[in-house]
Symmetry: none
DNA sequence: GTGGTCTAGACCACC
DNA sequence: GTGGTCTAGACCACA
């Protein structure tokens, strides 16, 4: 896994997103145990406090839970994971459409443009 | 014009975007004179310095220029305005697609999802 | 004559420099009569007040003088004109050398670099 | 370091130039950490905001970058630093030659005059 | 402690 | 009245 960050946004946010991706994509399957904070932190070359914060946020969202003695685990609730993915995705789409409107494109315009860009990318 | 801001991002950035929208959408036509910094600032209820900063950034992008003592004007270059709109739009699309991939959706998935959301919105 | 200005410096300064050039280069010969402020201003598309100020500064430097009733004239003192040219030139050279030192180039470095640039330009 | 300013040009511009000199000359080596905004500001006896602005401009040029919470650093790209020095130098030379032409000196004249002034200075 | 943002208020040159 | 600069002082998120 390539951990890399930009300076524009908080590190912990970017950590959160990347770990969330690992879970949502199934690389960290439902119910599996996460590496320790220390290990995750050293792997990502960040301060353990920062990693801690990212995990705490993920815990708040319900995607992971911590077992006092034995560490942190991905939720066993596969449905939750799927819902999470879908709701975040929808959120991103709405934000995107809103920003495009902000630029003067209607939702219909945006659809067409996205299709066009995707086609270009494929070529 | 309804000037409103969220607390997540710098105000000057949001000012910039909103003014840019006014230009791109043609509400401030090419070559037209902008209100003075002070007027814009008071209209948006921000400090003149904050507005100044937003305008300075817009100036750097070439969308507006300032005439030492007579005020600020929208660029006369209509083509530039159009290009700006398109390039910002494309940028937003690419960012969006990237974030969706980050969530586990392929570009093709994203297209379908956007279409679906737009349809829902219309209903 | 092509009158054109940039926004970085005061208009009257740029007017001054351009008129000074006309005198120093002999296009406005020693002793000759200058066009009226109004004519000069309209030709340069600037406010007469601005042109007035430029001429006043030139007058202060001794390059021109005004005859209450009959208008403004270039000084008859050809030597003064020549001296002016040389002293301004020397001033510019010293400023230039100082700026280059500011960049980490010695005076000797600067000489070599200027020669190199001039050669390139010629080619 | 002797921080001193003239009143003709914005302080932030002069700060920028002086810090740029420190970098270009190697006094602040590639990759090294700069003092904090506050420290630099107090050292130069200017308002932190003014120093901030100078640094922000330097950042835009690529000579330095900021690490959200750990400070600002000189770019690690030594080549960029060298290129910057050369391109700024060339720019200054072209401006100089242009100004001299404006005075009625050809490029060849200018070369000779610069040499003469430098010789005088040495004596 | 670090960079970053914002406000309030002042001053300046220019036209 | 216009843009531009500067100061002083405050607050914030982040690490």
């Amino acid at each position: 896994m390539a951990w890399q960050f930009d300076n524009e946004r908080p590190i912990y946010t970017q950590l959160l997103e990347q770990i969330r991706f690992l879970i949502i994509s199934g690389l960290y399957p439902a119910g599996s145990k996460l590496p320790s904070v220390r290990d995750l932190a050293s792997e990502a070359s960040v301060n353990p406090n920062t990693m801690q914060r990212a995990l705490a946020e993920l815990e708040r969202s319900g995607l992971i839970y911590s077992q006092r003695t034995s560490g942190r685990f991905v939720t066993e609730d596969g449905v939750l994971i799927k819902q999470m993915k879908e709701s975040i995705g929808k959120e991103k789409i709405l934000t995107f459409l809103h920003e495009m409107e902000q630029l003067g494109y209607t939702a219909a315009d945006s659809v067409v443009l996205v299709e066009k860009v995707v086609e270009e990318e494929i070529r």
